[in-house]
Symmetry: C2
């Protein structure tokens, strides 16, 4: 079965770039620099269900994107999480956190409402991140 991005992820994010096996997406929430990594594997909900090769690729991508986003944003802390209680398709949150942000020190999930980027902000973020994470 061909991989299809979950409709909720489709609705909430914009594509930054793709690797051979992952989509790298920007969450449309200007409150936090927030990337979502989606392994393009069907019918998988848990990291440990990936095969060995996929596990390695996903882990390397998590570390590369975390480090790149941390450096680009000068983050005070990175939050990395695979939850999936609401969206069953395996996806990994990679979020740059700051002591001044809207949820600090709590996790970001369930805090207030997303504040979409302006078209100009969005264009700049996607362009910058595509370069930084290349």
């Amino acid at each position: 079965m061909a991989f299809q991005l979950h409709p909720k992820l489709q609705a909430d994010t914009h594509l930054i770039s793709s690797t051979a096996q992952c989509q790298i997406l920007l969450m449309d929430d200007a409150r936090y620099p927030w990337i979502i990594l989606v392994p393009q594997v069907t019918e998988i909900r848990e990291l440990y269900e990936l095969d060995e090769q996929q596990q390695q690729h996903v882990y390397r991508t998590i570390l590369r994107v975390s480090k790149g986003l941390a450096q680009y944003t000068n983050a005070e802390k990175m939050n990395v999480a695979a939850l999936g209680n609401q969206v069953p398709q395996l996806h990994i949150h990679i979020i740059a956190r700051f002591e001044r942000d809207a949820a600090w020190p709590a996790p970001v999930w369930g805090v207030g409402n997303a504040e979409p980027y302006t078209p100009q902000q969005l264009e700049q973020m996607l362009k910058d991140l595509a370069t930084v994470l290349d």
Copy 2:
């Protein structure tokens, strides 16, 4: 500098077992089967700051513990997260989630108060998990 477990993790958890490089701890909260993995590395806050060998060991341990805890608890979903906004020492949460649990479908952090295990429950959990995760 010798590794020392952060006082907050020391206070909130019990040791299940150790690997060569990680402590595997049980969160003392009977509401969720909740393991915390702590790489025994000093002065590291982010996964990507581990060296290559440590990264591999930690990732393999995350996957092994996630799968073991999922199977032991018959979890509906595993939550895996490295946050560290409040406790700066690098630690990874591995939590078995159920649709009937106290926080579902939200993440567990910041929801109500921990409910410690009874001494009997705790003894059983530690014994079972040491076997399951061996």
